[in-house]
Subunit: 158 residues, 2 copies
Amino acid sequence: MDIKRTIDDIDHKILQILQEKSRIPNAEVARQVGMAPSAVLERIRKLEDRQIIQGYEVRLNPHPFNQGLMAFVLVTVQSASRADLATLLTQVTGVQDVHQVAGEDGYLLKLRVADNAELGRVLADEICSLAGVLQTKTNIVLNTIKETRKLDLNRYSS
Amino acid sequence: MDIKRTIDDIDHKILQILQEKSRIPNAEVARQVGMAPSAVLERIRKLEDRQIIQGYEVRLNPHPFNQGLMAFVLVTVQSASRADLATLLTQVTGVQDVHQVAGEDGYLLKLRVADNAELGRVLADEICSLAGVLQTKTNIVLNTIKETRKLDLNRYSS
DNA sequence: TATGAAAGACTCTCTTA
DNA sequence: TAAGAGAGTCTTTCATA
């Protein structure tokens, strides 16, 4: 175990509640964990300070915003590429994720665009045109069965 | 434009605020958009009813929960596979995403596990062992440069 | 749809344990 | 760390426009 304090059962329960629905009054969380609201507030603040809670997001439907098509693009780059290539990739239209992956000097992007036409345009004009990009392999998503940020909290080890 | 009402500038602004930090008092949103809190509440409810807002999530640090290693696994399956294979894949340890992808009868999984040892175990025991799975190709994430759910809201077309 | 009023609920700080 | 008290704020419904 490390220097930071541990995550106890109450923290655990608080996080579980926030994983289900984060936009919920503090007092309601307090009720569910059976504690005073002030104590729960204090705990949530500490979880934020300790960066165990990293933020609160809204999950929006991408369709009304013309981003109904999702694709994963594996970008292979020259090993001597400029160090800021990753940063340039984060700025590509529709990019939600940029991960450096092991293996063939590459990055894996997750992006949301309107349709195949736009995907083609983005690949050609915004990705392949970057200096150092050797090739791309694209997986187009037909159907998303599961997509969540939830973690299994029962794997915490003190 | 479709049957549903449009997303106007005020909705737009509300969504933008919630994309930045969703756990924020309604009254604060109202202040930022310059409207009465009751009107903003009404709008947020309608956005939820219309499924434009699909939920509110907390973003947790995966490290304290022993899920610091992320990997993408492309699973190729027999074309005659049982229809519920996708559902079985959603239940694999550490799986956060399951997407059906075009091309080679496959699924793309995003998973978070403790380390390489666990990844190996999950691949062997929980994925390859499923009936209908032909092969897997794994991309291990070394470093995540960007990971967000935010959409570019300026692409809405009425 | 928006506002404003009003009752009740919630937040958040501070004190005490 | 937790509880409780209290001042101030927020939520939510309803009447009205």
